[in-house]
């Protein structure tokens, strides 16, 4: 009889042995396979532990100005930041509240464990031998940044300006207001109070409006509608009748598309851009159809998160992700409807039109250096892809020059003497108050070296206020 139990004992032993194997595999998964993902999680305290025990690397701009560095204090090393206007880009590294911005995205590089230097990484991780960390170089141009900060600050409103190089995708200026004081969040003496204040502030100073702010794009979205129309059989020179207010058919009931200038007349596409005529774009959007318009929006990255070295949230085309009602198609065509897009995304769309239809991949950092200043890795991601045909982009670029320089153009404020500027204003209706003002553009129009997006929240006159800011930033980038 006892033999029976002995057999059962063996059966149970095998089951337990298998369970141990499975458990070991699970532990192996976390310790070996998932360890990179865990190590780079911005809330992993190990990332920022180095700020207390060891100096982290510096973060510098194109002119080698130090934006962030570790300073020795009584309680160990603390991070010091030199430019509050870059608080969102540079971010902060706090022992308690984690890290953000470049401090989080390049956390491994800043502790001397850049992926481009596997030997140092291996030695630090497995042998505990830490090299003196190098630095991360940003593409931020201090001159352009200063002009952008001054321009946005002068409005006295919340908002954001972002400027990038349309060819390389390098972000050269980025400002978001209101901002916060990163030194207080990083300093262990003040971190709790500072965090409570900035995190609880209903103006949301922690949000980088340039990168993370999601707004209706308003008329700036007409770049997408126009490109979709040109590639789907719409002749831009055909005059289209505009009579304010307008509805496609009586089934729309009380619903009308309205012209901001209460227009009555015949419009070409050039007129449509210059005078930002909503009814013109609603009509061509409906001709193109919801499916095609959605496809082009998606090609321009609307509703997706662009690949970027600092994470960018994704916007949306509509609540459902499709354009399945004629009124929604009409509204989306001129940038209202249920669209939500970030200023960074709109700057990329402008850059794409300026760069013959090729969308660049945005990035904030350009280079990681070791402690002796040698380059470990350059950050130069290739283009995201050909979004529209070069001739389509060229035509739209021409209309956008008209929208800045043509008679009665809304975006006249973005003019720069001696250079052709392409641009488009936008006025985004929003339920929370007066409309937001937009401007996107690029210069020189024929062969751009800078693309820009400006948003001013609840601006008095919409896009007309935003255009001069865009002009000043582009002028600084052109070195004029």
């Amino acid at each position: 009889m006892t033999r029976g139990i002995a057999e059962n004992i063996r059966g149970l032993s095998v089951a337990i042995a298998i369970a141990f194997l499975v458990t070991s595999a699970g532990v192996g998964y976390w310790t070996l396979v998932a360890s990179d993902a865990l190590a780079s999680d911005p809330f992993n305290p190990r990332l920022v532990a180095a700020i207390r025990d060891r100096p982290r690397g510096k973060i510098v701009d194109t002119a080698n100005n130090v934006l962030a560095q570790s300073v020795k204090t009584q309680d160990g090393w603390t991070r010091k930041y030199s430019d509050r206007s870059l608080a969102h880009v540079v971010g902060f590294a706090s022992f308690k509240y984690g890290a953000s911005g470049i401090e989080a995205a390049y956390a491994d590089s800043l502790i001397g464990q850049d992926p481009g230097d596997p030997i140092a990484t291996w030695r630090a991780r497995y042998l505990g031998e830490h090299e003196e960390p190098g630095s991360v170089v940003l593409g931020i141009d201090p001159k352009v940044q200063k002009v952008a900060v001054d321009a946005l600050t002068s409005t006295g409103r919340k908002g954001a300006i972002i400027a990038l190089n349309p060819v390389t995708g390098t972000i050269i200026a980025s400002v978001s207001l209101p901002n916060f004081e990163p030194n207080q969040v990083a300093d262990p003496k003040t971190e709790d109070l500072a965090w409570q204040q900035v995190n609880g502030d209903q103006n949301k100073p922690l949000i980088d409006r340039a990168r993370q702010g999601l707004y209706a794009p308003g008329s700036t979205f007409k770049l997408v509608t126009g490109a979709a129309a040109l590639e789907n059989g719409i002749n831009p020179d055909t005059k289209i009748r505009v009579d304010d207010p307008w509805q496609a058919d009586p089934s729309w009931g009380q619903y009308y598309v309205r012209s901001s200038s209460k227009a009555h007349g015949d419009y070409t596409m050039a007129d449509g851009y210059r005078l930002s005529e909503n009814i013109y774009f609603a009509k061509i959007g409906l001709q193109v159809g919801g499916q095609k318009l959605a496809e082009y929006a998606s090609r321009f990255g609307v509703g997706a998160a662009p690949r970027c070295d600092i994470a960018v949230p994704k916007g949306q085309l509509s609540n459902s992700g499709t354009l399945d009602r004629p009124t929604l198609v009409a509204d989306t065509s001129y940038g209202q409807g249920e669209l939500l897009v970030s200023p960074l995304q709109m700057a990329l769309i402008a850059a794409t039109i300026g760069r013959a239809g090729v969308m660049p991949t945005p990035h904030y950092a350009t280079e990681v250096r070791d402690s002796s200043g040698n380059t470990i890795r350059t950050i130069a991601p290739g283009a995201a892809g050909q979004v529209v045909r070069p001739d389509t982009a060229a035509k739209i670029a021409g209309y956008l020059v008209g929208a800045v320089e043509g008679p009665g153009a809304f975006a006249f404020g973005a003019k720069i003497s001696g250079v052709h500027v392409a641009g488009k204003t936008g006025t985004a209706e929003n339920p929370a108050g007066p409309p937001h003002g937009w401007f996107i553009g690029f210069a020189p129009a024929e062969n751009p070296v800078v693309a820009v997006a400006v948003i001013i929240e609840n601006s008095g006159q919409g896009g007309v206020d935003a255009a001069p800011l865009g002009g000043r930033v582009m002028q600084a980038a052109l070195g004029r």
């Binding site: 865990l38 809330f43 305290p45």
Partner: protein, 432 residues
């Protein structure tokens, strides 16, 4: 001198345990030289003296049989002391408390070697053990001695010392099941069948089902998910050991699934546990209920193959790491390799226990040794599985290693019982 030769393999292994205790303690102290307290060296020395004393006690009593279990338990306990030294917060003298508990555990171990003089007494008084178990289980709910800590009312306490009675109940449950199942094994095993499925002989299963159900009700009342899971595991394992019917186990697992779903819907804190298990990294949970497991996984992620080195990781960021997450702390600082060695020690312990069970002369002793060994292995799997997010996290301790007196004392009593079964076997068979 003859005393030392009686259990020669054991004394050889204890030398290794002593080396482990000293080097571990020194390594931890060296990593944080500023916080080094000279008196700390007293801890491993006292521990080694205690282990040698127990060894001499076993030799003096002429205990025969297995010589591996004791050094294994001692080695795991040494690791426990090293980790408590590593992880104790500055304001809580956990290491000294753990050493105190180790002394109590050694006393309990020695007492269990002596009492009862005849192991069959365990079987004879099975109903006494069952009732004692239930009383112990209910005791935390009683006024005066019952205590609630961290939201679970599973403690009884006198002054600074707290005890979790269910830790002892798990042993009583195994003793009761072993005795009862031995008595009625014949009827339960030779049940009628419909096709391949056995029909459970309900009247004979009723007492153990009732016993188990009462334990479950109390444990659920006391909000202790880990104990509930452990009791269910013990129940199913003992039933399988006695009958060899995998079908019963399957029914048990199906009941677990159904019951688990019902409990998930009905009981708030279980709901939170499961959600935390499924998505600890979500925005709502990572700074709330999921904070502990997320920090635990960060520790594992920092482990790599060979770890950060003792004292060089950051496991102290995990809340209550010394009792709930010692495994992760150990893994972070000794790597996947260290974690595997630790798991291998438990598997070896289990394997020796099962070997004792296979060889034991009577069904009662077989079931007893099998059930006791199962407890250690299963409890290890439940906590490590929870630590590595393979299953929902429960509050059971890592046997011998985690900080906590109740667990240490009862596990050392468990070792004593296993060694006594081995001793009886050696005497019956007339071998060493």
């Amino acid at each position: 001198m003859t005393l030392l030769l009686r259990r020669r393999s054991e004394v050889g292994l204890i030398v290794w345990v002593a080396a482990l205790a000293i080097t571990g303690s020194v390594a931890v102290a060296a990593a944080d030289a500023a916080a080094f307290d000279r008196r700390q060296i007293f801890i491993p020395v006292a521990f080694i003296a205690l282990m040698l004393a127990l060894h001499l006690f076993l030799a003096w009593r002429g205990v025969r049989g297995d010589q591996l279990l004791f050094p294994l338990a001692a080695g795991l306990s040494a690791l426990g002391l090293i980790l408590v030294q590593r992880l104790q917060p500055a304001d809580q003298p956990l290491l000294l408390q753990q050493l105190t508990w180790m002394i109590v555990a050694a006393g309990a171990f020695a007492a269990t070697i002596l009492i009862p003089r005849d192991l069959t007494a365990l079987a004879r008084f099975k109903w006494t053990w069952a009732i004692l178990g239930l009383v112990l289980l209910i005791s935390p709910l009683l006024p005066v001695i019952g205590r609630e800590i961290n939201g679970a009312r599973i403690w009884i306490g006198v002054s600074r010392f707290n005890f979790e009675p269910w830790e002892a109940v798990k042993i009583l449950l195994v003793v009761f099941f072993a005795a009862y199942l031995e008595e009625f094994r014949e009827v339960i095993t030779h049940s009628r069948r419909i096709g391949p499925f056995p029909i459970p002989p309900v009247p004979y299963l009723l007492p153990i089902l009732a016993m188990w159900a009462m334990a479950m009700v109390v444990v659920i009342f006391e909000k202790d998910l880990g104990a509930a899971l452990l009791f269910l595991g013990i129940f199913l394992a003992m039933l399988y050991l006695a009958t060899g019917e995998a079908f019963y186990t399957l029914i048990g697992l199906a009941l677990l699934a159904v019951g688990g779903f019902a409990v998930y819907q009905l009981i708030g804190h279980v709901h939170v546990r499961i959600d935390t298990w499924l998505q600890p990294f979500s925005e709502e949970l990572r700074f709330g209920a999921g904070y502990q497991i997320v920090q635990g996984l960060f520790a594992l992620g920092n482990a790599g193959l060979f770890g950060a080195g003792l004292g060089n990781g950051m496991p102290d960021r995990i809340p209550i790491v010394w009792s709930d997450f010692v495994f992760n702390a150990f893994a972070e600082e000794t790597g996947f390799a260290g974690a595997l060695i630790l798991l291998a020690l438990y598997l070896l312990f289990f394997y020796r226990g099962m070997l004792i069970a296979v060889r034991a002369p009577t069904p009662f002793l077989q079931l007893l040794a099998g059930g006791l060994s199962f407890i250690v292995a299963f409890q290890t799997l439940v906590i490590v599985g929870g630590n590595a997010r393979l299953i929902p996290l429960t509050g059971v301790t890592l046997p011998f290693v985690a900080y906590g007196g109740s667990s240490l004392v009862t596990n050392w009593m468990l070792v004593a019982l296993l060694m006594r079964v081995s001793d009886v076997t050696a005497r019956v068979r007339g071998t060493e």
